[in-house]
């Protein structure tokens, strides 16, 4: 092949250019820490990176939902503990009241305390959180338990449930996986035994010093107590499920993060070695080019 003066220059420039392009790309990869700058760098990896990123975002949200759901459950749990305390105090009083060593006056005093316990029970049942009434299901704006009061003494005669407190309060914790964190207190308070009714009856029995009736209430209160234990069990199970899910999500997020960095992260060692090789070749090309392009027969003619 005949080699002409323009050919050498053209090929030389072309090669230098493509060398520089590669050096530039490697430098970008190293300085940004990401081997994916544009979708065209690797379309398949781009999709994977986007998918992984989306899963990470979702997981973050699910974790947040779980934390939120746990808060709801914890609030309910502590309220129920309080209810248990009220119930067991009432049971103590019933036990004392049924004992023949106390007289009618003592029982009256006990009745006053039971009345207070009844009021407390109502307050706890109507506990509010940032979202409104805790035990109202999804009717958060209206107190779920309403008391009817005696007009003269202003004492509670009956407590009724307003509306439907069984509405679900859902927390998404995964695809097609949502947990109902509503604690339906109708089960505790209105289960086999209605605690408000039991307390009203206990108070009235104490007042009337009706020992047989008082003794009768002890069983009722035991039943109510057991109902609340059951409810705590349910809450605990839900909380455990949420905790486990959160652990799983955390583990998954960890895996996703590491696979994301595998997909789009720069392999620094590899890129730096490549860069150095490219630079070496580039420098060699520069110095050889300078020598070769200057050489011509003209230099040797006199």
């Amino acid at each position: 092949m005949r080699v002409t003066s323009q050919m050498m220059g053209r090929s030389y420039l072309n090669n230098l250019n493509s060398r520089l392009t590669r050096i530039n790309k490697l430098q970008n990869e190293i300085s940004s820490g990401s081997r994916l700058q544009n979708p065209s760098d690797d379309p398949i990896a781009t999709i994977q990176a986007m998918k992984t990123q989306a899963s990470l975002e979702r997981n973050k949200q699910y974790s947040r939902n779980i934390t939120d759901g746990k808060y709801h459950l914890n609030m309910a749990e502590s309220s129920i503990y309080e209810m248990q305390q009220i119930t067991s105090r009432a049971r103590d009083l019933a036990l004392m009241g049924s004992n023949a060593t106390y007289n009618a006056k003592d029982r009256k005093t006990m009745a006053v305390e039971v009345n207070q316990l009844l009021e407390n029970m109502l307050t706890v049942s109507n506990t509010t959180t940032i979202d409104g009434y805790l035990f109202g299901g999804n009717q958060t704006e209206e107190a779920p338990f309403a008391a009817a009061r005696d007009s003269s003494s202003n004492r509670i005669t009956e407590v009724s449930v307003t509306g439907d407190v069984s509405g679900k309060i859902l927390r998404n914790v995964g695809q097609n996986d949502s947990v109902d964190v509503n604690v339906n207190n109708k089960n505790i308070l209105y289960g086999y035994k209605n605690i408000f009714q039991s307390l009203v009856e206990l108070r009235d029995a104490l007042e009337q010093s009706d020992v047989a009736k008082i003794a009768n209430k002890i069983d009722d209160l035991d039943t109510v107590y057991n109902q609340s234990v059951n409810q705590l069990g349910i809450i605990g199970a839900k909380g455990k499920y949420l905790d486990e899910t959160k652990d799983r999500l955390d583990e998954e997020s960890y895996q996703l993060t590491s696979s994301l960095s595998e997909i789009q992260g720069t392999d620094l060692a590899k890129s730096i070695v490549q860069l150095q090789q490219e630079q070496l070749v580039y420098q060699a090309a520069l110095s050889i080019g300078g020598e070769m392009l200057r050489t011509s027969i003209v230099n040797f003619l006199k």
Binding site: T4, S5, R10, S40, R64, R171
Partner: protein
């Protein structure tokens, strides 16, 4: 008749011929770096025979022609290669421009915005009555709206860009076509004069330039002129030029352009920069816009459908989150009702304030396979778009990068025929110089012989 005087004239012809040789060598050296130049060779032939007593003897040398060394085969290869390369280069450029609109790798693309939107709904589902979160949901909805608007307008500006580049190219192309026709005319007039090599070089350089814009096939005629065909259509026929014109139509907001030769013949370009520009303008960008509109439409319809079945804080249902009519990526808007009052964001399925199930129904749309006949979620569909854009850009960039080496090689091959080699010219120059010197020796020798003859008579 071979007398001394005929040797004289023989010497003279040798001097002159070698002088032409040195002239042409000089011309070659002068044009060594001129990329359009084809090297020239002096075609020397022995002059006519003369009859002498001893038989026929030669009467020296003469310059038969000054030939232009060039190979048509390599020309057509280079032109084809240049068109192809220009198409892919332009594709790489536009691919890059378009993929920068899909900036999901920097976490600022549509998929990021959609994720934020779905997540905000879950937060609202957790606390349905919270005004702060309601505001956040509206903000995230606005984020999606802005993203779609931005992508729409950037895609449109890409197509505006392509259009103005098409128009600019057409001006150049038509100008080149005119010049080629014009040069053809001059070549036809001066076909056998000395100017013609320069004119041929100039004409071929024009075709070189033209080949970057459109594909080119040149047919050489006997008188040295060419006809130029592009995509099976004649654009130059000897001294006649048939210019290209553009026709832009709009259908449903998607623009389409077509090319006409001589104002009447529709033509589809086969390669060249113009082909890529036309592709980008007529199919590439409209296709992406259409896909974006599909995403927007299905997103708005589905979200509105669920939102409408939910109850707002005022206990109303049937409220749209986004404006219902005329939905496209360029026109999507948050509905006036929600814009005015975030309490109109409808979350409750049952009508109870604390009910967030409706919000979760919306956020679960991220899993809903709404597109491609129930095969792809919005995210999947969008991701396929990104992959397609990335594939296109990668393909074009790779092709143009690899192919530029091929075109480089083609040009080198052409150059190895037509290019000037300084070494060769220097050697030629020495050869012509020596011949010139030798020829002048002949003349002095003949002169001496003549003196001898004259001296004989005294």
């Amino acid at each position: 008749m071979g007398g001394l005087s005929s040797i004289f004239s023989l010497g003279k012809k040798a001097l002159l011929s070698n002088q032409v040789g040195i002239h042409v060598t000089g011309e070659n050296i002068a044009n060594a770096q001129n990329p359009d130049y084809s090297r020239q060779r002096v075609n020397l032939v022995s002059d006519s025979f003369v009859h002498s007593n001893q038989g026929f003897i030669g009467s020296g040398v003469k310059v038969n022609s000054v030939d232009r060394i060039r190979d048509r085969f390599y020309d057509s290869q280079v032109w084809e290669g240049k068109s192809q390369l220009a198409e892919w280069k332009s594709g790489g450029k536009y691919g890059n421009l378009i993929q920068s609109i899909f900036a999901d790798l920097d976490n600022s693309g549509l998929s990021t915005q959609l994720n934020a939107f779905w997540n905000a709904w879950e937060d609202l589902g957790n606390h349905p009555g919270d005004y702060g979160i309601r505001n956040d949901v509206r903000l995230k909805a606005q984020g999606v709206v802005n993203q779609l608007h931005g992508m729409n307008s950037r895609l449109r500006s890409v197509s505006d860009n392509a259009l103005s580049e098409i128009q600019g190219s057409l001006v150049k192309i038509n100008d080149l076509i005119d010049q080629i026709a014009d040069t053809n005319k001059k070549i036809a007039n001066t076909a056998f004069s000395e100017n013609s090599n320069t004119l041929l070089d100039r004409r071929d350089a024009l075709i070189d330039k033209l080949s970057e814009y459109i594909d080119v096939v040149a047919i050489v005629h006997e008188n040295g002129t060419v006809s130029v065909l592009s995509s099976y259509n004649t654009v130059v026929d000897q001294s006649n030029a048939y210019s290209l014109t553009l026709d832009v139509t709009e259908n449903n907001g998607y623009r389409k352009a077509s090319l006409l030769v001589d104002g009447t013949m529709p033509v589809e370009m086969k390669s060249g920069q113009l082909k890529n520009l036309m592709d980008i303008f007529s199919t590439g960008v409209p296709d992406l816009l259409q896909k974006l509109d599909t995403i927007t439409e299905s997103f708005v319809n589905k979200v509105n459908q669920i939102h409408g079945s939910n109850y707002s804080l005022y206990g109303e249902n049937g409220i749209s989150l986004f404006t219902d009519s005329g939905i496209s990526s360029g026109s999507i808007q948050i509905s006036q009702q929600v814009q005015n009052d975030v309490a109109n964001i409808a979350v409750s399925k049952s009508g109870q304030t604390g009910d967030g199930a409706g919000a979760l129904a919306i956020s679960n749309l991220r899993y809903a396979k709404l597109l491609s006949n129930g095969d792809e979620t919005l995210d999947d569909y969008y991701r396929s778009m990104v992959a397609k854009v990335g594939d296109y850009a990668q393909n074009m960039q790779d092709k143009s990068e690899n192919y530029s080496a091929v075109v480089n090689m083609m040009e080198n091959q052409r150059d190895s025929i037509k290019g000037v080699s300084l070494e060769e010219e220097m050697v030629d120059m020495i050869k012509f110089q020596n011949s010139f010197n030798a020829a002048s020796k002949i003349i002095t020798t003949v002169d001496e012989l003549m003196q001898t003859v004259i001296g004989m008579v005294r």
